[in-house]
């Protein structure tokens, strides 16, 4: 699903505007369905997905005691590493996931240990 979306995006980026519009009109209903699916997926609580070298949502606020799950959708492995070394996942290959339970309140910055420009934040209240 993710691949399909990103390919659509790539195609659109490379097409002249008129052709992109035509395809957008043709694919409108499908795109709408995809977006709807994406919106539902994004609402899944306490899940951070990794798509296109980006943590999403980049910032997540959860109550104390919450288990947060990270899922990698990229074709490249990533890790989840807390800045203060409180938690660090193993390498997550495509569709692998990692979970961590936040037992205390605070702000927890994390990044990908392989691509450290990828950053995210969990705020525990």
């Amino acid at each position: 699903m993710k691949n399909l979306i990103s390919q659509c995006r790539n195609v659109a980026a490379r097409l002249p505007l008129s052709r992109a519009l035509m395809i957008a009109m043709l694919l409108g209903p499908i795109a709408g369905a995809l977006l709807a699916y994406g919106a539902v997926a994004a609402q899944e609580p306490n899940v951070v997905t990794i798509d296109n070298f980006t943590f999403g949502p980049k910032e997540l606020t959860v109550p104390v005691g919450t288990t947060v799950k990270w899922v990698n959708h990229d074709d490249i492995p990533h890790t989840v590493a807390n800045k203060d070394k409180l938690f660090r996942s193993a390498a997550l290959d495509t569709d692998d996931s990692y979970s961590y339970t936040f037992a205390s309140a605070g702000t927890f910055d994390y990044f990908c240990g392989l691509h450290p420009y990828m950053v995210g934040k969990i705020i525990v209240k």
Partner: protein, 315 residues
């Protein structure tokens, strides 16, 4: 859908895109560097006709053994094709420098395949790790157990060959959130000591996985403390810096320093900023091999011109 998109793209190519494609296709341009200024002296056929008889070595990079996704379902097969090119060379290179990401996931079987396939060349390989080579549970132990002998720290070392000082550096360990590649204070202190007693006329070749200079910060394509390493190298008359990581050719000359990044033998990546993110780039299957390749470096003794020939798996 992706295939259709690429076909469509071919109809509306602007001049800029054509030039980009030419760079990616990398049919093989011979560069000589003399007095810090690069001169292209011809395409690979001409270059081979006038092949210098000096010392040569090879750069290979980003094999990603174990990668099996859409961008290349069999990265081991394309590596074997590159190795076949090495085996067929009329004059064997003195050695191979591998600039990291030997494996995709640091698995023992992937390292086993690396040893087996590179072993077929009959040529010694000098390794440095990429970030994909240190993601075993012990974070780098699998790499060091195999390739770490005689190295310091996370696997850095130096050696001399044909009057050139070669330095293998590691910039993929202990990366900091929000940052780029990283050498760290310990490695930089070692580098300073390693260079201390060498004369300015010693030709230097530095190799590491992530580019030392910042090529594209937004995608992490650079080394945080790379300028500190470069400042230690500045006084030398000839410095060649070989990197991988970005899976495409990029060359730059600054004073006496020449920067070169190699093609991958596994999959291409997009040019900086041309896609939402880095990562494996899908190209039509029949075009894949024109995006993959290896580089030969020729060194003529005496007047020290250094030539880098990039070639792809298909002409």
């Amino acid at each position: 859908m992706a295939k259709k998109g690429l076909e469509d793209r071919g109809q509306g190519l602007g001049r800029r895109e054509v030039l980009e494609c030419m760079v990616w296709a990398g049919t093989g341009v011979l560069w000589t560097v003399s007095g810090g200024v690069p001169h292209s002296v011809g395409l690979i056929g001409d270059a081979l006709a006038a092949e210098p008889t000096g010392f040569t070595f090879l750069q290979m990079s980003d094999s990603h053994i174990g990668f099996d996704k859409a961008a290349n379902p069999d990265a081991l097969a394309t590596l074997r094709e590159a190795v076949a090119i090495v085996k067929a060379m009329p004059v064997k290179p003195s050695f191979i420098i591998h600039t990291g990401d030997i494996t995709h996931l640091s698995k023992p079987a992937e390292f086993d395949n690396a040893d087996k396939v590179f072993g077929e060349t009959g040529v010694q390989v000098h390794w440095v790790p990429g970030e994909h080579d240190i993601i075993d549970v012990d974070r780098g132990k699998a790499y060091l157990d195999r390739y770490g002998r005689g190295t310091k720290g996370a696997g850095w070392y130096s050696y001399d060959d044909h009057g050139i000082h070669f330095i293998g550096l590691v910039n993929v360990v202990d990366l900091k959130g929000g940052g780029l590649g990283n050498f760290g204070a310990e490695q930089l202190a070692w580098l300073e000591a390693d260079l201390k007693d060498r004369s300015n006329s010693t030709p230097i070749v530095v190799f590491a996985h992530i580019p030392l200079q910042v090529i594209y910060k937004e995608w992490g394509w650079g080394t945080e403390d790379g300028t500190q390493a470069l400042s230690l190298l500045k006084r030398f008359g000839s410095v060649t810096i070989l990197n991988g990581h970005i899976h495409q050719l990029a060359q730059k000359v600054e004073g006496n320093m020449t920067f070169h990044t190699a093609l991958s033998t596994a999959f291409p990546q997009p040019a900086p900023g041309t896609a939402p993110s880095p990562g494996p780039m899908l190209v039509p299957a029949d075009k894949l091999r024109s995006f993959l390749g290896l580089s030969t470096v020729n060194v003529v003794q005496g007047n020290k011109p250094l030539a880098i020939i990039d070639r792809t798996l298909v002409a």
